[in-house]
Subunit: 165 residues, 2 copies
DNA sequence: TATAATTGTTAGCCGTGTCTAACAATTATG
DNA sequence: CATAATTGTTAGACACGGCTAACAATTATA
């Protein structure tokens, strides 16, 4: 309940814009206001005003009618959001068995609010599930072992897999 | 990324107020504006204006300088938020091993944005972890079994526990 | 290349949810 | 019970992040 958190630098909205720009710009592609607006489901003027704010914050380079590009700092922030996004999607999809669609949607929301501590744990959890996928007796203990030692317990190899179904 | 979600009825802020009122009102205790404001870390005028809006939406009964009480509808919403809150806290604390403090903080944020599908899965996941806590070989398969049948597989009983540590 | 289509920007509005300052009601206490 | 302390409300401001309408620049095409 209590609101006393040590705030993130960026708002959720700003993170969304940075993430979108990073994704659209993959492979040196030119990024357009229109594309951003479609990707985020907002109108173009909203994008323009967001870009203005992000420029002021030196997270984005943008000149009127011109190119849109993340600054190194903006790129750093975007990469971090994307990292959280991917980890959360994997968690919902792989670990919980949620459909990709919903997993993506939830990741989009949660990526802006989750603490870094929980984020790191979730990443480790998914890594554990994926690395030690089937023949893993005694799950929580093994997970604790993994958290503590950073590697899988000896008897967690894929060799001991027994397929079901 | 894409914003096309079918919105919740209430805003995150409204849910916070309802949750706070429900928690403060436990056991017929009188709820005060001051308490709500302290619990949520906002000033009293913010509470007053939130109560006004919640009254209009018929989620709260409130008269000037008078009592504050959830309507049946408001109570229903509050219970649901609290249910999500508790499940998330359990997930972070029990399943991921996060400290209670951080688990609470993250639950507070995520309870407002997670889809009901993911929420239900998370609840089941925690139930599974707690019910099938130690001697559980073949974790993901057993989890799938649990999801599919709604009950633990035969060989998941607490009888087969081997304590570690 | 002139004009049409598209894309982008500006201006200004709105709802949400905070805040402070000033005032009002209630409650406690000398 | 009068007054001080506390609690609650109102009024008005502000930041955020959307939106529409109108206009400007760019790009495509007849």
């Amino acid at each position: 309940m209590v609101k006393q958190e040590a705030q993130r630098e960026q708002t959720a909205s700003m993170e969304d814009y940075l993430e979108a720009i990073a994704n659209l710009g993959e492979g040196r592609k030119v990024v357009r206001v229109k594309q951003i607006s479609e990707m985020l489901g907002v109108k173009m003027p909203s994008v323009t005003s967001a870009l203005k704010k992000l420029s002021e914050r030196e997270l984005v380079e943008h000149e009127r009618y011109g190119h849109i590009k993340l600054t190194p700092e903006g790129d750093k922030v975007a990469r971090d959001v994307i990292r959280r996004h991917k980890a959360l999607t994997r968690f919902f999809a792989q670990a919980l068995g949620i459909n990709k669609e919903t997993a993506e949607e939830d990741a989009c929301k949660i990526e802006h609010v989750i603490s870094s501590l929980s984020m790191e744990r979730l990443v480790k959890f998914v890594e554990f599930i994926e690395a030690c996928p089937l023949g893993s007796a005694n799950f929580p203990s093994r997970y604790e072992y993994y958290l503590e030692h950073g590697e899988l317990p000896r008897d967690c190899s894929k060799r001991s897999v027994r397929k079901r179904k």
